[in-house]
């Protein structure tokens, strides 16, 4: 039984997060440890013929539903495994896969001392690595890269607060929660500068039952069960 030391958060990684699940978590997950060891596999090329549908008739990229500050956000591991993808512009599936592939290649090739910004196609990509996860945001060319970097950091802080010392495994196993938080924070691609509390409260509210003020408080609370 491991000593009660908290698992390293991606926000404050103590040691190289070698993706072996910390002992405490592996006990909870029924020995998930060995399964997540980084195998150092080469990033697999995505075969387009793998049955992924191409949806014909998508609108072109430029005249999409309005230009938001953010075009898309990706989270991926150092091995090039996608953990989260949120697109704020309309593109075909095929195009997206191509973009993800290319971008991962470019970002993974960057050396540690380099800028956190890079130019890619007609977009600027802002990326930051937290432990074993890369957070990537694509913004319009003229946008402020530095504030986007802080946006990424803010998102990680929110995740950290919600999960309590978040690590990559949390995001892998609970990616839908990560999406909920992202959507609350970046509604449709624009940053909502709200208090950190209100973002998390909105998520947690949906984790419980909530009724409008006119109706009596949740029956659970009245019965003292909440």
């Amino acid at each position: 039984m491991a000593s009660a030391s908290p698992p390293p958060s991606i926000l404050r990684p103590r040691a190289r997060l070698a993706a072996t699940a910390p002992a405490r978590r592996s006990a909870r997950r029924g020995g998930a440890g060995p399964g997540f060891r980084e195998r150092g596999r080469k990033r697999r090329k995505d075969k387009t013929g793998s049955g992924a549908g191409t949806y014909g008739g998508r609108r072109g990229t430029s005249q999409d539903g309005g230009c938001r500050m953010m075009r898309f956000m990706l989270l991926f591991s150092r091995q090039g495994k996608l953990r989260l993808q949120k697109w704020y512009l309309a593109t075909s599936d095929k195009e997206r896969k191509k973009m993800v592939r290319e971008l991962m290649q470019v970002v993974l090739a960057r050396k540690p001392k380099m800028c956190s910004f890079l130019e890619w196609r007609d977009l600027k990509v802002v990326y930051k690595r937290y432990a074993s996860l890369y957070f990537c945001c694509a913004i319009e060319g003229q946008d402020n890269e530095l504030i986007t970097l802080e946006l990424i950091h803010r998102y990680v802080e929110l995740l950290d607060k919600y999960f309590g010392s978040v690590c990559e495994l949390d995001i892998i196993f609970n990616f839908e929660k990560a999406y909920f938080i992202l959507d609350e924070f970046l509604m449709g691609g624009d940053v909502q500068d709200t208090s950190k509390k209100s973002v998390l409260k909105a998520i947690e509210q949906a984790d419980l039952l909530q009724e409008e003020d006119e109706s009596p408080r949740s029956v659970l609370e009245e019965m003292g069960l909440a």
Binding site: G65, R154, V219
Partner: protein
Amino acid sequence: MSDIVEKTLTALPGLFLQTPGAGGPAAARAPFSSRLGGLIRGITALTSKHEEEKLIHQELSNLKAAVSAPTTTLKMMKECMVRLIYCEMLGYDASFGYIHAIKLAQQGNLLEKRVGYLAVSLFLHESHELLLLLVNTVVKDLQSTNLVEVCMALTIVSQIFPQEMIPAVLPLIEDKLQHSKEIIRRKAVLALYKFHLIAPNQVQHIHVKFRKALCDRDVGVMAASLHIYHRMIKENSSGYKDLTGSFVTILKQVVGGKLPVDFNYHSVPAPWLQIQLLRILRLLGKDDQRTSELMYDVLDESLRRAELNHNVTYAILFECVHTVYSIYPKSELLEKAAKCIGKFVLSPKINLKYLGLKALTYVIQQDPTLALQHQMTIIECLDHPDPIIKRETLELLYRITNAQNITVIVQKMLEYLHQSKEEYIIVNLVGKIAELAEKYPLFEP
């Protein structure tokens, strides 16, 4: 009353299955025995792409059977949906599940509805034929007495909604602008922003309501309205000059720390809000002396306040500098801004250097002496190991070419071209070189 009891009783099993201490870290993590967990562990144990394909195809056929089976409960459907999202993320097609995502959003309880809506936002796109089916669910949820459902409906609308059906929900959303809860008002504003983006004519008549949102007592709602204003001012700045005073006042309050402490990000008050306001002021003050004069004070204040050594402060400074240079010029402000740029360019931190170079490209035409001041640094950056810095320097040099330095600059550009593999950059650079060649006909010795 019985309605609520019924709702509560149906939700009870779901609630009890969550780890106790609902909300917060404990409830955040999925139970380790989830099927998604099993799938993920299964995939990670494999070593080849081929095996992964086999496993996923197997999983997808299981899921296909599960979603179409009449015995599948909504709770099981939610679980299936999560796995479907996962498979699509890995690059496999799960389009058979799309209709079920909509159904889940329609019929599920809160937790299931949430996953259903998420799946819809990830699976579908604006012109997808299934999107129309979402409208009914959204209409129903907008009218729900349960606030969380209303929030979910508004969130999905601000992400994806069929343009032709805007009239169906517009009155409902307009109604929410006066809701007592600020989160609903805020989300309603954002939903209307989305409508403005995809169909501006349809929200033409409610511009007056946006003004109300701008004056809302809740900061979040006000901040949300700024997105719309930024867009509208971008399209037509003259129509909104009268609001300059309001924006200046808001910015003064933010910079002066009048917002609740909650809105601080690393001791900086509402940085994104500040930046949004600076951008709006930039558009309003351009080529307009009278309007610009209204902002000089607050810009001066922003330049002064941003003294902390944090990235977010530098980001705000950058926007401030950009604004100072874009509006009607004032020499004291320009001096301060130039000093700022100097600090950036000379900074050892590479991100700041990049920002400094970028700022220089914006201001260089207005103030060429600035380039002279920093010419040593610029020359160093030309040979910087990071290609992005090099590129930005070339961008800068492109703007200050003259007969003397043209040869050197084009030479450097050609060097960069040789080692660049990015198609877009190559095309861009070649275009620039061609332009310069026309401007300065060179003789080849």
